[in-house]
Symmetry: C2
Amino acid sequence: MSKVRFDIAMSLDGYVAGPGQSEENPLGIGGEELHQWAFKLASWREAHGREGGEVNASSEVVAESQTGLGATIMGRNMFGGGPGPWGDDPWNGWWGDEPPFHRPVFVLTHHEREPLTLGETTFTFVTDGIESALAHAREAAGEQDVHIAGGAEVAQQYLAAGLVDEMQLSLVPVLLGGGERLLENFGDSPPQLEQLRVIEAPGVTHLKYRVLK
Amino acid sequence: MSKVRFDIAMSLDGYVAGPGQSEENPLGIGGEELHQWAFKLASWREAHGREGGEVNASSEVVAESQTGLGATIMGRNMFGGGPGPWGDDPWNGWWGDEPPFHRPVFVLTHHEREPLTLGETTFTFVTDGIESALAHAREAAGEQDVHIAGGAEVAQQYLAAGLVDEMQLSLVPVLLGGGERLLENFGDSPPQLEQLRVIEAPGVTHLKYRVLK
């Protein structure tokens, strides 16, 4: 059964990015601490051309989260290149000629643009909102899952709209004291959650929840 | 080795009490949802004169948290009776003639009062601050642990002062959307944490952290 899901690292005080986010510092001050557990993994290091690293309980969690995905949705900020119209020599993403997705990616933006194919990944730019992007992604994904890659604001919008089936929070024992929160701005009808699974790993706890409709 | 520790239930969005706290509704709106996992336990029901209930992974966590305690510290709000001087016919706590502590309890207050003994529990009222209360509690506890019972504001003060050794957060999959947070107001030097243990239980995840000095 196809699901809509996302995974995100969160500090114990609820932040998914630190304060003072900028183009130079997209994770905000201290935000890198949210990902130290991942940077240590052999699988992460291998994917980034490095040797060594650990294999621990997080390895399987990460592998699982990247399996069975048929399409990805991301926000314009995550795709990058700054705000505004795309221009004549548009930004083509952070990932070079062979982006690691190998599946259709739908980019939420206010500015129209023709689809962009790089290697096995096609980026389609969607200007008519999150529900439209999800409809495209569902169709592209078929029986596989739709992955909301981020940023946090996009994940929050999908959560608030009741369009997410499952989320995994990788809870990191750090207090950032400020920054961007995922779990807020839901008004009077916050998502109802059911705890599905908890995995303890070095320096992080992976908490998986079903989002009830 | 004697430790200073506390346990507290927290929503996934970081609240330890809901919005709109009052004397009639001390947990705030929705705050009772933070404790449903505990209310279902046979041990909780037995302690409150009821039959039935569940035995699950939380049972052992709760039993452990109540073991090895030599003294308790609580705030005036938790002791109850409203703010201000104690008066001629003072409030004697929520717990009747046989409070369940059976150990010395130190109550933080701005208003002097003679010690109060009820059953096997003596309440000592401390007016010169959290460090003084902790010194009294440590002396009373001997080799046993000092328990910070609450409320959240008191636990936060001890955390901010670097006086806590261990905390257990019972993380509940509910979003309260407002209320009182535990993990804030630490300024530029938030507590540094080390994840010690994670226990998954029905409707809750018990996360234990060491607080580094």
